[in-house]
């Protein structure tokens, strides 16, 4: 099953479109690891998207979860999670960047 989610966020006068493409592989068909494919960075602030993916893994797929990032530069504030069991995979050391917003 493939699920696409788009949301509009407004923060500090900035409006941006956060697009999150969630690819759900049926656990029954493909094993126990659930995969979330994150869309391209939005260019402003990707914290909500990244934190949302972590929360999705923890809350609904505690046994195993993979977050796949696209190429590009994500901008993110602090991300925190408890009981995450899974992986975060980019497209390459110099292709996928998460820039911490100080």
């Amino acid at each position: 099953m493939i699920k696409s989610v788009s949301q509009i966020s407004s923060r500090n006068g900035w409006s941006c479109v956060l697009s999150l493409l969630i690819v759900l592989f049926s656990a029954a068909a493909f094993g126990s690891t659930y995969t979330i494919q994150i869309g391209a960075p939005n260019g402003a602030n990707d914290t909500l998207v990244l934190q949302g993916a972590l929360d999705e893994c923890v809350n609904y797929h505690p046994a195993g979860c993979e977050i796949r990032l696209s190429a590009g530069m994500y901008l993110s504030g602090p991300l925190t999670t408890t009981n995450f069991h899974g992986s975060i995979v980019g497209k390459g050391m110099d292709a996928t960047v998460i820039d911490a917003l100080p």
């Binding site: 990032l69 602090p78 991300l79 925190t80 999670t81 408890t82 009981n83 995450f84 069991h85 899974g86 992986s87 975060i88 995979v89 980019g90 497209k91 390459g92 050391m93 110099d94 292709a95 996928t96 960047v97 998460i98 820039d99 911490a100 100080p102």
Partner: protein, 340 residues
């Protein structure tokens, strides 16, 4: 920050770029990837951890304190693996603090090599209890201390097994934090302070190049029992090559010091005068690869066996060098100051 988590991260860059307008209070970011709690695991494969130079914080001039932080509360059972990754521009690239019953592997085979560039400390392990730690095939440059392991017993007092093998380091410059630059430092306070068995340390086949550092050495083996230092190559110019301090039963063998120019001696077997009574270095065996290798023993460090090295029988260096060494050693023993 991951709590009670098992995380594998790969094929990306984690970075702190620049500073906000007005700057940061101290470091802008404390750690790019943190794993805390009482259980967990972390692996980083082909990950770049990058900060940038920033204002001087007193513990390095960077906008980022740490790259990978694993910290127990009070201890964490956490396997740690870092391979094929690079670290640049932060005070501490990797800190693994308070792990217990864990396996820590940084590097491994040549294909697993990590690189570390521009840090106060490249790899820092303040405490590992009943754990196996392997640090191999890494390259460290432009750092005050390449690798520092201190068994300080703050949480538990169980020995661990440390192997530091086939790493390459370039030691240069002057450390404003330590007033002394070093390739590898190991300290084990468990036997003396807690009466527990000693941790085992094998430092072998490391290549340490020392240049343009007014106060530096290659390897420091402090307050250990049975440490093995073998097959290492030290080259360039330094105060000394290998400094053994307040240790018992060490084995120094087949280390290549032929292209090292030391202002004091190639190898030191030295006494801890900071404690009362003082603690000498005893029962060590030093087997040199060349009679030109020089060794110096202080007057209290006796019962050592020397083979194929030139015992210098000379006075210690001047007070400025001596005081810098002792100050550095004191910081190593009192590492809580570094941990907070």
């Amino acid at each position: 920050m991951f709590t009670k988590s098992d995380i594998a991260i790969s094929d990306l860059t984690l970075r702190v770029a620049g500073q906000p307008a007005g700057g940061c209070q101290g470091f802008c970011v404390l750690a790019l990837l943190g794993v805390v709690g009482q259980t967990g695991s972390v692996s980083a494969t082909r990950v770049a951890f990058e900060g940038e130079p920033g204002p001087d914080t007193g513990f390095g001039a960077y906008n980022l304190y740490g790259g990978l932080l694993v910290q127990g509360n009070p201890e964490i059972k956490a396997d740690v693996q870092v391979i094929g990754s690079r670290f640049k521009n932060m005070s501490e690239a990797i800190r693994v603090w308070g792990v217990a019953e864990s396996r820590v592997s940084i590097g491994g085979s040549p294909a697993d090599a990590n690189t570390f560039d521009n840090h106060v400390i490249g790899i820092y392990i303040p405490e590992a209890d009943q754990s196996v730690v392997n640090i191999s095939q890494n390259t460290v440059v432009n750092s005050d201390v390449g690798m520092m392991i201190v068994q300080n017993g703050e949480w538990d007092h169980q020995p661990a097994n440390f192997t530091i093998r086939h790493n390459q380091m370039t030691v240069s410059g002057y450390s404003s934090v330590f007033n002394w630059n070093t390739g590898i430092v190991v300290v084990d306070l468990l036997p003396a302070n807690y009466g527990e068995p000693a941790s085992s340390f094998e430092l072998s086949n490391n290549d340490i190049r020392l240049a343009n550092c007014p106060a530096c050495d290659g390897i420091e083996v402090n307050v250990t029992e049975g440490a093995v230092v073998t097959g290492n190559k030290l080259s360039g110019t330094a105060v000394d090559g290998i400094w053994v301090w307040a240790s018992d039963g060490c084995m120094l063998k087949a280390n290549n010091l032929l292209t090292l120019t030391s202002s004091w001696a190639d190898i030191l077997l030295d006494t801890d005068y900071l404690d009362t009574p003082s603690v000498p270095t005893t029962n060590c065996t030093v087997v040199g690869g060349d009679p030109k290798n020089t060794i110096w023993m202080d007057s209290e460090s006796t019962d050592n066996t020397l083979v194929g090295v030139n015992n210098m029988h000379r006075n210690p260096p001047g007070p400025s060098v001596r005081n810098a060494m002792l100050k550095k050693a004191q910081m190593g023993k009192g590492t809580k100051a570094l941990q907070r």
